[in-house]
């Protein structure tokens, strides 16, 4: 049951990415290219997704607990700290080079473009590296959170 629901959720997410055009790095890079071939589509994707989630979250939170999970597990961190800023900046640079963020990279995988086949393993290695780097003293300020 959990597996089927997980698959279905991923499928809906993936259909959204492909239909919205976000599985195409060219569209993402053009959104980021204000001075050139600008394509504002990504802003519409974010708007459609965020508004839907904003309303939907408030509806499902009315239930005491998720359907197949034990409790709602929301991020508890509230501090804007060094890992957040440094991580987001590194991510943004990589996003600007490749035009992929993690979701679109997965949906692009079965199309087997050479760039995707390089990007996805590198991203997995990066996730592992970044998770370990997050433990370095430089990223452990007082009261640090995950």
């Amino acid at each position: 049951m959990r597996l089927a629901l997980g698959f279905l959720s991923g499928l809906v997410f993936g259909l959204g990415l492909v239909l919205s055009g976000m599985s195409n790095p060219a569209k993402v890079l053009n959104f980021l290219d204000l001075a050139g071939t600008w394509d504002p589509s990504l802003a519409f994707v974010m708007a459609g997704a965020t508004v839907t989630a904003f309303i939907g979250y408030r509806l499902v939170w009315r239930r005491g607990a998720p359907v197949v999970g034990s409790s709602f597990d929301l991020p508890r961190a509230t501090r804007v700290d060094r890992p957040l800023i440094a991580g987001a900046a590194l991510f943004g640079i990589g996003w600007g080079i490749g035009g992929f963020c993690p979701g679109p990279a997965w949906t692009a995988l079965p199309l087997l473009a050479p760039g995707t086949l390089v990007f996805v393993p590198a991203m997995l290695a990066g996730l592992w590296l970044g998770s370990n780097a997050a433990r370095l003293p430089a990223f452990q300020p007082k009261g640090a959170s995950r």
Binding site: G10, I93, L124, G126, G130
Partner: protein
């Protein structure tokens, strides 16, 4: 490194596709009580193969979710729809990009979906700062790569 390929502005398809992404985020929250951040979901799935510090322990649905993501374009193609795609071809560029995206989202605890869609929907200040930071970094990076060295 990439050559600028003009793409068509698709407000309605993008708004509709975005609503599906939001729906999936609501499904993940309502069903599993979790944030639908693809970086976090991927991290949980990778932890099934190698130990990853701070990775979530509920791996079953995360792996199924990723399989669903991969299945989506195949389903659309089976239904006779074309899936448009232009992926930058530089091997070195894509390797660096992948490393930065992976490491950055792990360090910053989220990506376009986790901080972007889910975080903004929760009205999280941390997520708003993260989104503004990665958007700014993305704008600057593309500007430098496409226009910074006497390019177009």
């Amino acid at each position: 490194m990439d050559t600028a390929t003009a793409t068509e502005f698709t407000p309605w398809a993008s708004l509709g596709g975005g609503a599906l992404i939001g729906l999936s985020a609501v499904m993940v929250m309502g069903l599993f009580g979790r944030i639908a951040g693809i970086a976090g979901i991927t991290k949980g799935a990778v932890a099934a193969l190698v130990p990853v510090p701070g990775a979530p322990s509920d791996r079953d649905w995360r792996i199924a979710f990723l399989i669903g993501l991969i299945a989506a374009p195949l389903l659309l193609m089976a239904a006779g729809m074309g899936v448009d795609q232009t992926v930058p071809a530089s091997v070195v560029g894509m390797a660096i990009a992948g490393l930065l995206v992976g490491a950055g989202t792990a360090l910053g605890s989220g990506c376009t979906s986790g901080h972007g869609v889910c975080g903004l929907a929760r009205l999280s200040r941390r997520s708003l700062i993260a989104v503004l930071t990665f958007m700014a970094a993305g704008f600057v990076t593309v500007f430098v790569l496409r226009h910074g060295f006497g390019g177009a």
